[in-house]
Symmetry: C2
Subunit: 259 residues, 2 copies
């Protein structure tokens, strides 16, 4: 099932990676940086990458819907809807850091059934498919067990935009004080690290559908759980709070720590 | 001048990179993580890497001194002193992120005359030598100009250990509110990005000699400035506050913003 769509998802990631690498760390990129309404940056690389991916979807699956960060919504009530974030982590991208990625998801009846995180500098790709084992560069990967929150490694993109709501910032701080190690500013790359057993917990806020849809089959297919901050399943209408744990048995403890 | 020492510095970086990659993201690394007195983590990779580098220095330059993060000080009053941080960014390393590096510096009469940042996952190396142009993977690199603090990209490792002094945290926040983009948790990799013109400002605290000695010839040889938070030259006895700017003409504005 989904084989033809998985093949196209991989092609979309290939096209995105090639386009992004034309701009990475290039002087002519820096001149194209604009600030969007929510004060986040966008560049010619974000825009041309999403446009190139949309063109392939239009041609291969003209009846599918598309939700993308840069060019909005087309046919959102279709049976299949593609969800695209050409560069998740634009702030890392425009500052030369490889901790960004292209996010590609396919929703079937609103459920994310295919997800890709693609990192073109490091040539790393995570592929998740509903009810299958997640693949890292073509090989199965899995989350690790974690015996206690006090031993956990936590990642979060963090920053003023993500935790602009003071109560989110307070709740995150409570969790952050309990863990062993925390790192910031990794965007989607953190979910790749969690899915290959390098870190244990991620807590983020103000996430849009295109920020989290691809992550769902990747984290779940690697053995982890991804929910909102109450431990509830993510849906198309979730409130933007995202929590991921590598060890599912830790989920309740993390939800508790975030209260 | 220094040619034989530069050659050995490169060999030390090669040896460090090979050793570190034996452990990166490996399950047997995670079991070796210990917490040091300052609550920072250390692993078998940090220790074996520094030991391997020391062995080469003992053999090649038996009269030189060594200051290293893991094994302390030998012969500190020698004319030449090597300053080693086998893994700067151990928290990134143990969580699978490539934003860490090996730092190698050579002091001559207490002045850092050679500096290397080596990132073995991405195969990136910055080499700085006093009064020479900094090299990135063997090719000259340079910082960029920045017309205003409001347009600057800021990096800082940040976190509870770095800004445990509340007045440091407040001063950093003042600067952070003025810039366009900020990213965290990059350790020495940020100075590489600054030296190749991808970012504009770095402000850090609680830095030890082995955290900053290698950065001095790299940043200066790429056209930037690296000082303490008052704009004063870094010395062996600096107070641990480190500030780097790609565009030297911005130095006073950043010092002012940090007041």
């Amino acid at each position: 099932m989904y084989e033809d769509k998985i093949q196209i998802a991989k092609e979309l990631a290939d096209i995105a990676g090639r386009n992004i690498m034309r701009y990475f760390r290039k002087k002519d990129l820096f001149d194209t940086i604009e600030t969007k309404g929510d004060t986040s940056p966008v560049t010619i690389a974000d825009r041309t990458t999403e446009a190139a991916m949309r063109e392939v979807i239009h041609s291969e699956f003209p009846n599918h819907g598309i939700v993308g960060e840069e060019y909005g919504i087309e046919n959102p009530d279709a049976e299949y809807v593609w969800v695209l974030d050409p560069i998740d982590g634009t702030k890392s991208f425009i500052t030369g850091s490889p901790l960004f990625g292209t996010l590609i998801a396919l929703l079937h009846h609103n459920v994310p059934v295919v997800g890709i995180i693609d990192q073109p500098v490091l040539k790393e790709r995570w592929l998740g498919v509903l009810d299958r084992h997640t693949l890292y560069n073509g090989k199965p990967c899995e989350t690790r067990s974690c015996e206690a929150l006090e031993k956990a490694a936590l990642y979060s993109t963090g920053g003023r935009l993500m935790f602009k709501d003071a109560s989110d910032a307070d709740r995150f701080d409570k969790l952050n004080k309990k863990v062993s190690v925390s790192r910031f500013s990794a965007d989607c790359y953190a979910y790749g690290l969690l899915s290959m057993g390098c870190i244990d917990v991620i807590a983020e806020a103000n996430m849009k559908l295109y920020d989290y849809a691809a992550l769902v089959p990747i984290v779940e297919g690697a053995g982890g759980a991804i929910t909102d901050w109450e431990g509830k399943q993510l849906t198309r209408n979730s409130d933007g709070h995202v929590l991921a744990v590598g060890d599912k048995s830790m989920l309740n403890k993390v939800v508790e720590a975030l209260r």
